[in-house]
């Protein structure tokens, strides 16, 4: 039995282990999974001196309350998250993007995310998890990955295999930036929609529905009219594809999406905006802005450079 472990006092709403995701499995129906907000996932690992592809605990809305037992260890939380750290006689409010040291008996209580959906908890070390198809990520729909593919649950104990002997406290002053518009590239069925429908798509505001999860983000707002066909022959999907079913309400495919689908694709979210898109909570307003392929590629390169730069400063 491991001497370093976490006990889950309260699991939170949607608490899973995630990492960089799974590749090469779409053809057998297994989506990418992985941390929804990749940048915040990487920063969390860097703050505790982990390898950047280590597994972290991802939570949405309400996070877990955990009790730690074992040797001194560092942890860090990223995202826009309210949490407290309880030591023997004191309880302090924690700050995101800063690592802390905890020891035997200390507790981390992640009360909620603030103006975002997902938050990340990284511990300096390695969780004792099942590695399936080159990833620790949990896919709760197909029960794939660590923890038998299930969300973390009340009373569970999670062992750590290895601990980083890192005593430094690290910080970054990174701020989650909001973006004005979500940039999209025209979808392969763009011309299925009426002129009015296309105009609505780019000019009107949509509201993120509370029926959104790791599979998809449902949007409400003006209906997008389809004049050609409300179904296509089922074909492959990728992250960021915006499908419009017959009811005219767009659905954006997120990291755990079904691998094939039969609704027309009006657009695809540019990779540069994906991390920030997934952090838009129910009720947020979304406006789409058209972008061409070459600008999307350039902006992604800049975003990636910015991420690397951020990581190198930690």
């Amino acid at each position: 039995m491991s001497s370093n472990y976490l006990d889950i006092i309260r699991p939170g709403i949607n608490t899973t282990f995630q990492d960089k995701g799974r590749d090469h499995l779409y053809h057998i129906g297994i989506p990418f999974s992985g941390a929804m907000d990749n940048r915040n996932y990487l920063i969390a690992n860097k703050l505790v001196n982990n390898n950047l592809d280590s597994a972290v605990i991802e939570f949405a809305y309400q996070g877990p309350h955990i009790k730690y037992s074992g040797e001194k260890i560092n942890f860090a939380i990223t995202g826009d998250v309210i949490f407290s750290i309880k030591k023997k006689d004191t309880e302090i409010e924690g700050k995101c993007y800063e690592s802390y040291q905890i020891e035997n008996g200390d507790e981390i209580n992640i009360i909620s995310t603030n103006k975002s959906v997902y938050g990340y908890l990284a511990l300096g070390g390695k969780f004792d998890l099942k590695f399936q198809w080159n990833s620790y990520s949990i896919n709760t729909k197909a029960n794939i990955g660590s923890n038998d593919g299930k969300k973390l649950d009340l009373g569970q104990r999670i062992n750590l295999k290895k601990i980083n002997s890192n005593k430094d406290i690290k910080k970054t002053n990174y701020i989650n930036t909001k973006i004005e518009n979500i940039r999209v590239i025209k979808g392969t069925n763009f011309d299925y929609f009426s002129e009015e429908g296309k105009k609505i798509f780019y000019e009107k505001e949509f509201t993120v529905s509370k029926l959104s999860d790791r599979m998809g983000m449902r949007l409400e707002g003006p209906k997008i009219e389809n004049i050609v066909n409300t179904n296509i022959k089922s074909e492959g999907l990728i992250k960021g594809v915006i499908q419009v079913p017959a009811d005219g309400n767009p659905i954006i495919m997120l990291s755990d999406h079904g691998t094939i689908g039969g609704y027309p694709k009006i657009g695809v979210v540019a990779s540069v905006d994906y991390d920030r898109l997934v952090q838009m909570s129910p009720g947020s307003k979304i406006k789409f802005k058209e972008i061409n392929l070459s600008d999307a590629e350039t902006l992604f390169k800049l975003y990636e450079m910015e991420t690397q730069n951020l990581l190198s400063q930690i």
Binding site: G29, S234, L237, V268, L293
Partner: protein, 224 residues
């Protein structure tokens, strides 16, 4: 052959083989899929073959649309010497415990239960693609007189192993999931087994499947 290649967003290629759904177009898709998969081009991270499209997604940190497109255009899909397709027999129990939509099918198809089973069983179906949920095979083509629409309101939970029909296709629910296909029976086989890391899918695109009827007793004793 690929009729047109376009971009699907900034991190995927959309290879269009035509609009019809038939074995000959789908075999082309599968041939490309298998060839590209074997070659392991750096940066390509996923291939999704479907009836008549192949979507190739890539890591934008390692490559880009132009590079992958150029690569695909110069591939000789005939290179794939071994398509390696299997013929599989799938046991299916059509006892009333499992055939939840048989009454509905009798009404829609205007055929008796016996005739429906006779039309469905012991025939070869081709696996066009797998997916939507992990391992779910899309099998075709059903006889003309066996084609029924989806349920108007999909079930919230379809039992694992359900063998179901809609339009020209049959499929198998690889695990419990929502779904709106007409359920005809159930197989005791694990069609998707995530513990088999190298081969989780029993049925793969290009394979041929024959459904063989088993009794309720055989079903119950199948995994013992």
């Amino acid at each position: 052959m690929i009729k047109n290649i376009s971009n699907l967003g900034d991190a995927a290629l959309y290879c269009d083989f035509g609009n019809e759904v038939n074995k000959s177009i789908n075999s082309q898709v599968i041939k490309y899929f298998k060839t590209i998969k074997e070659k392991k081009f750096e940066g390509i991270n996923n291939l999704t073959p479907s009836y008549n499209k192949l979507i190739i997604s890539f890591d934008l940190k390692k490559t880009n649309f132009k590079e992958v497109k150029n690569y695909i255009e110069n591939i000789n899909a005939q290179d794939s010497k071994d398509i390696n397709s299997k013929k599989l027999e799938i046991p299916v129990c059509c006892h009333e415990n499992f055939s939840m939509d048989i009454k509905r099918l009798e009404e829609i198809l205007k055929l008796s239960r016996e005739k429906i089973l006779e039309n469905f069983l012991n025939k070869e179906y081709f696996c066009y693609m797998t997916g939507f949920i992990a391992g779910m095979p899309f099998l075709g083509d059903l006889d003309e007189n066996m084609r029924a629409q989806r349920l108007e309101t999909p079930r919230v939970k379809v039992p694992k192993g359900s063998v179901a029909l809609t339009e020209q296709f049959a499929n198998i629910y690889t695990f419990e999931s929502p779904g709106g296909w007409n359920i005809l029976g159930n197989t005791p086989l694990d069609v998707f087994d995530s513990s088999k890391e190298d081969k989780p899918n029993l049925i793969n695109p290009g394979d041929t499947v024959i459904f063989k009827e088993i009794t309720l007793d055989q079903y119950k004793n199948y995994n013992e």
